[in-house]
Amino acid sequence: MSQTFTLSPAELALRLGDDALILSHRLCEWCGHAPTLEVDLALSNIGLDLLGQAQFFLNYAGEMENAGRDADALAYHRDEHEFKNCLLTEQPNGDFARSIVRQFFFSAWQQLRFHELAKSGDATMAAIATKALKEIAYHVQFAAEWVVRLGDGTEESKCRVADGISWSWRFVDELFTGEDAALRPAWEARVRATLNEAGLDLPAPVRGITGGREGRHSEYLGHLLAEMQYVQRCHPNAQW
């Protein structure tokens, strides 16, 4: 199943671009509905950063493919099985705890992954990663602080954040397939530190659910794409 070792740069750009695209879409769903105005703005901020990353990666993936597709063509005119985002990013928002845990797990992974990518021989990828790392540092901090607040808040918030962790934990394995496996110890250390501060433990290992990287998604992605792509699909030749 693991194909990371032979990953082409175009495939890697597609994966990282789809991760950012899909998670930014989920963050858009929070807009106007967050617990406070300040949190609303912060989630929009993260969403905007991810949307920017998606544009860079997908445009570059399109360039490498050299078939005349730009980021918009890739975002709006691929079918579900052509999307390569990890399953974690497409999971529904659930309550705020689920969304925050998803963000924390993902951003902490992105931070490590992009740190490697910034040293890549591919100058474009390295430049995208370097720019993104400044944004990601804030995403990790924001999400980690909320994990701590919720874990060390009320009984209810502790329950909810624990539920969020057990929901997302099943999708962690997928982040560490192939050569990314090497990143796992550092990721677990980072996550453990925050969970401990929140009075929570790292969950026991579970059977990981994978497939996103090969285009086999959860049932949620199809609904997301139906909404995201609808206008473009109805007007295939229009400019916007």
Partner: protein, 309 residues
């Protein structure tokens, strides 16, 4: 009485009143009402645009829209802060919104039905807002005036973006042109209503102008908006949905048809097409996430206890 005379003189001299200065209770109340209504409008206004975030037809447009909505949330924050300097809490203001005691702009009780509505809102709604607000940069209450300086700058930017988005549609496919015209048809009259009731039916206007909370009458501002907007519509090749609209050489203004004030007052009463949905969305966001705010408070309390120990 001395204090009142001094206050009136300062205001008349276009001086800024600051939070610690003495002010008449009616002035304070009027300001709280106006600023909080403005803040609520920004926050509720996030919803009709947010309705198209997940369906924005290009990544660039999606980013522009998300950033715009974020700006509106930011405006809400400045304005709540300005209102708080007058001695109310944000929670009180939000409670007044949710219970229906506080109002927000009627414009946000209309639905966004196509992508063109997003362009039309930027062009017309932000355009009308700027017309209304530009004078507020010199309003007599300092914190409000300073918030408005920043807000107006961002809203001019939004207006240009909205107009540009609509320009693309107006020059696009047949379906896109139809969308653009339809959006103008639906948003034109509600935009004119944003300036409030006609002057002969606007009881608070005179006092507000004396207090420099307002600097021009509703009808003056509305006329200025019409005069500015009609040529813009022509440049887009779109028709204003008002058969009575005509340039008047004598007045050097556009004459226009009768506004449906019955509809306006119905929307003010909370009977707009999406009024129930809008307020329910805000209440849900607040109530369903109450546990998050409680957790943050509980955590902060634990932390300060720990630090004190």
């Amino acid at each position: 009485a001395d204090r009142l005379a001094a206050f009136d003189a300062r205001v008349a001299a276009d001086d800024f009143i600051e939070p610690k200065d003495w002010m008449p209770e009616a002035y304070r109340k009027t300001l709280i009402r106006q600023i909080s209504q403005h803040a609520h409008s920004e926050v509720v206004g996030m919803l009709p645009e947010g309705n198209w975030l997940t369906r924005a037809p290009s990544l660039r447009r999606k980013a522009i829209l998300l950033a715009k909505i974020q700006d509106e949330g930011g405006h809400g924050l400045y304005l709540y802060s300005a209102a708080e300097t007058l001695g109310v809490t944000r929670e009180e203001l939000i409670e007044a919104l949710h219970s229906g005691r506080a109002k927000y702009s009627t414009i946000f009780n209309y639905p966004t039905l196509t992508w063109a509505d997003i362009g039309a809102i930027g062009w017309l709604v932000d355009g009308a807002a700027i017309m209304n607000q530009v004078a507020l940069q010199r309003t007599s209450y300092g914190p409000y005036a300073r918030a408005m300086v920043r807000i107006c700058k961002e809203e001019s930017f939004h207006q240009r973006q909205g107009y540009e988005a609509l320009m693309v549609l107006a020059n696009g496919t047949h379906a896109q042109r139809r969308m653009a015209q339809d959006a103008l048809n639906r948003w034109w009259w509600p935009s004119l209503m944003m300036f409030g009731p006609p002057d002969d039916n606007s009881p608070n206007s005179a006092q507000s102008i004396r207090w420099r909370i307002k600097r021009e009458t509703n009808d003056e501002l509305r006329q200025r908006f019409i005069d500015a907007t009609v040529p813009q519509a022509e440049a887009l090749g779109l028709s204003i949905p008002d058969p009575a609209l005509k340039w008047n050489e004598a007045t050097q203004h556009y004459d226009c048809g009768q506004i449906d004030w019955e509809e306006f007052y119905a929307v003010v009463r909370g009977e707009g097409a999406t009024a129930k949905d809008r307020i329910q969305a805000r209440i849900d966001a607040w109530e369903k996430n109450a546990w998050v705010r409680e957790a943050a408070l509980a955590h902060a309390a634990k932390r300060s206890t720990k630090q004190a120990a």
